[in-house]
């Protein structure tokens, strides 16, 4: 494996982890907003219980992505930084509103509803904007004008491909978060909330698969090079669809731990994460060697080899230091019955 491949794998790994964590995070914020008026359903409480300790950690990943991007691929950072000035700024503003009001909502109980609406609504727009970076890297929306790269916004907003990505982001956000919260509710022993989130997953799951199909269809017209490359990886895509089906089955099976409950949400969550992993692997692999088509490749954008080596060492040391912290965190918030079950 070349240095460039290692670096891009780390970067893509961060993007994948963030994508999964952020969809759950933003989705949980959205559901907590939806169910805030139904005093009887514990659904909002469950969503908040998951969200409160995790959003800060999730937020670190987005910074980690940006840092990995410009430290491994400074050449790509130049073009992307220039082109993404406007969309990037809008994302930043929404992210600031979302995070701040999420915290404010927990502190100022009397205004909780209004504040939750602000954070919930901004939160559901952010994934759609974040994912837009992907179709932008396909290159068709970038114009070079007298040596200055610019984003052709008109073309972007009239592109079916761009919209299919956005639709996919929003539906996936709702889908993954419903599934996770279903699992979290069952862990908490709240069957009413479980049924609610399981139903939501049933609805949003097929929609997100449909949206993924939409991405492939529009890709054929708008980024043929990528479509052709992705088709080379069809077994991965087929595996991805199979895992989706497996998750569906897992939701139908009777629970082994909870008598009288239908569905094994933990199994479904794992299957869906594998589903997204397989698909993102096929997409990422097909995208190579281009970071931004057709001008920037992982070779042309790569950092200085000595810097890469130093960074790589720091990654290993950092991982060794952080891993126990993550395990401890997981045990306290995902596994500890005293936390997960409301008093």
């Amino acid at each position: 494996m070349t240095n460039e491949l290692i670096a891009v794998s780390v970067l893509w790994g961060f993007i994948f982890i963030y994508a999964v964590m952020a969809t759950m995070d933003f989705g949980a914020g959205f559901w907590s907003m939806i169910y805030i008026h139904r005093a009887r359903a514990n659904a909002t409480k469950i969503a908040n219980r998951y969200l409160s300790p995790t959003w800060e950690v999730t937020n670190v990943f987005i910074v980690a992505i940006v840092v990995a991007l410009f430290s491994f691929f400074p050449g790509a950072a130049f073009l992307l930084g220039t082109v993404l000035l406007v969309p990037g700024s809008i994302i930043l503003i929404l992210l600031a509103i979302r995070s701040a009001f999420l915290v404010f909502a927990h502190v100022a109980k009397e205004y909780e509803k209004a504040l939750t609406y602000i954070s919930g609504l901004t939160g559901i727009i952010i994934p759609a904007l974040l994912i837009s970076v992907l179709p932008i890297t396909h290159g068709t929306f970038i114009e070079v004008d007298a040596g200055v790269p610019t984003l052709d916004l008109k073309r972007f907003f009239t592109s079916a491909h761009a919209y299919s990505f956005m639709g996919f982001a929003i539906s996936s956000t709702l889908f993954l978060s419903s599934l996770l919260l279903a699992d979290y509710s069952l862990e908490a022993g709240d069957r009413e909330a479980y049924r609610l989130y399981r139903r939501n997953a049933w609805i949003t799951g097929p929609i997100s698969l449909l949206m993924a199909g939409g991405i492939m269809l529009t890709m054929r017209n708008e980024a043929a090079w990528l479509y052709d490359n992705m088709m080379e990886y069809w077994p991965w895509l087929a595996g991805s669809v199979a895992m989706f089906a497996a998750a569906g089955m897992a939701l139908l099976l009777p629970s082994s731990k909870h008598p009288g409950v239908r569905g094994r949400p933990r199994l479904a969550v794992v299957a869906i994460v594998i589903q997204y992993f397989l698909a993102s692997y096929a997409y990422g692999k097909a995208h190579l060697p281009y970071m931004v088509y057709p001008d920037v490749t992982i070779e042309s954008a790569f950092t200085h080899p000595d810097t890469f080596r130093a960074l790589f060492v720091s990654y290993i040391v950092g991982f060794l230091i952080l891993f126990p912290g993550f395990v401890y965190f997981w045990r306290l918030f995902m596994h500890d019955k005293r936390y997960v079950r409301p008093k």
């Binding site: 800060e56 910074v63 406007v86």
Partner: protein
């Protein structure tokens, strides 16, 4: 305004906004840690309550510090793509390591806040240690990038190409330790004085019950002590910072002091403003020989004046005022803490007279203003360079035009968040007065936010 000025204003506004929350995010965890330790040592529940309330405030502040830090980090790439290309190749290590520090802080902040009732007191102290450590380490690492901009090392630019890259030499650039130390020490100082301000303000309010008074007095004593210690350390370190400028960025020191002619026995100008026409600092109090002594510990140290440098390399001359404000505030805070310490030793009492309390109330906001002046001085004093003598700011800026709308949007969001954070803090602490926390009740230890 041209786009360079707008880009600088936008990024400057982001930093000016972020730095308030970031500084408190570094300073307050240290005070929380000390309160936790004092609680374990004295078993005085007041300290536990103190830690709890400070943590609550910190959690709200972090709700702004984290997204504004995210903005600052991403805006670097969006507004200064030319600069970040060099940073990516040469100086990305501190950014990378900062991510780990950031993770440590985020993980343990959540653990300290949301799992406080499920972990042992010992583990709570470990958690808050990691929060303080992670916050300080982030500050040190990010400041290192700023230090590198002033004293670049570990690369050369040859025909527009970056060559001879040594990432560790860049990491340990000449001003790393002194500059990073300055930022962290002054952050501890500021965090402490802001908490001292709050305690003093509470003590000034009329008719309070004795129990609540004693609580605020303890908080005041703790935060004044820490503020005093760190204002002394900041001053010592500030002296080293000035000597570093003398050695590595002489035109910045010359602009800070309004010195035009190179000379030994150079005077120190306090106050006034620099007039480029007459080449003097008008209305300043001049202390003869003092600048030479500060720069090199000897009166015959030759200090370079601005006239030794081409005019287009001169930093803006108003930095003299910023420099004076920063140093003046630092000195005032140091003198104030010493005076408070002497008074308290003499009288063996914490019942400070009202005039004292008013000065304490002013101390926190003043410290924040000092930090702002220091940052603006450090960054505008480096102009026209973004990387000293290596890359000009105008060559690093984005080529995208029409930044004015974005500038307006970001300013609006900072105004909105500032108002909201003040309202939320006021709302929360009015609803949850100290008196309620001091009254023992079952299940009081829950710190959930």
């Amino acid at each position: 305004m041209d786009d360079l000025v707008i880009a600088r204003s936008l990024f400057g506004t982001t930093m000016a906004f972020h730095i308030i929350f970031a500084t408190l995010g570094v300073g307050i965890p240290l005070l929380i840690l000390l309160a936790e330790l004092l609680y374990q040592k004295t078993k005085d529940r007041d300290y536990a309550v103190m830690a709890k309330r400070w943590t609550k405030g910190l959690a709200v502040l972090l709700g702004v510090a984290i997204p504004s830090g995210t903005i600052a980090g991403v805006q670097l790439s969006l507004l200064w793509p030319g600069f970040m290309e060099v940073i990516g190749k040469v100086m990305s290590l501190p950014f990378q390591i900062e991510i780990y520090a950031f993770f440590i802080e985020a993980l343990f902040m959540s653990i300290y806040v949301y799992a406080a009732d499920r972990i042992s007191p010992w583990m709570r102290i470990v958690s808050v240690c990691f929060v303080a450590l992670g916050a300080s380490a982030s500050a040190i690492l990010i400041t290192n990038v700023h230090a590198f901009e002033g004293t670049p090392a570990g690369f050369r630019i040859e025909n527009g190409e970056i060559v001879d890259v040594d990432p560790w030499a860049a990491f340990f650039n000449p001003s790393f330790f002194v500059t990073a130390g300055h930022v962290v020490l002054s952050a501890y100082m500021t965090g402490a004085f802001v908490l001292a301000s709050i305690a003093a303000y509470q003590l000034l309010r009329a008719r309070q019950d004795e129990r609540v008074r004693r609580f605020h007095q303890k908080a005041l004593k703790l935060s004044l002590t820490i503020g005093g210690v760190f204002s002394l350390l900041t001053a010592i370190n500030g002296h080293e910072s000035a000597q570093l400028l003398h050695e590595y960025q002489p035109e910045k020191l010359a602009a800070a002091e309004g010195l035009f002619d190179t000379q030994s026995h150079a005077p120190l100008a306090i106050g006034g403003w620099t007039d480029p026409k007459t080449q003097s600092v008008k209305w300043a109090i001049e202390i003869p020989w003092a600048l030479s002594f500060l720069a090199g510990n000897r009166f015959d140290t030759v200090v370079k004046g601005l006239n030794d440098f081409p005019k287009e390399w001169w930093p803006p001359l108003f930095v003299h005022t910023l420099f004076n404000a920063m140093v003046g505030i630092g000195m005032f805070l140091l003198v104030l803490s010493i005076a408070a310490w002497i008074w308290q030793k003499r009288r063996a009492s914490l019942d400070f007279p009202r005039s004292f309390l008013y000065s304490f109330v002013a101390a926190g906001p003043l410290a924040v203003i000092g930090i702002e002046c220091g940052w603006i001085f450090a960054c505008t004093g480096r102009q026209p360079w973004v990387i000293y003598r290596m890359m000009k700011t105008e060559d690093a800026v984005t080529q995208t035009e029409n930044l004015a709308l974005l500038f307006a949007l970001f300013v609006a969001i900072y105004v909105l968040l500032s108002i909201a954070v003040v309202l939320v803090l006021r709302y929360y602490f009015r609803r949850h007065p100290v008196a309620d926390d001091l009254r023992p009740s079952p299940g009081e230890d829950t710190l959930s936010v």
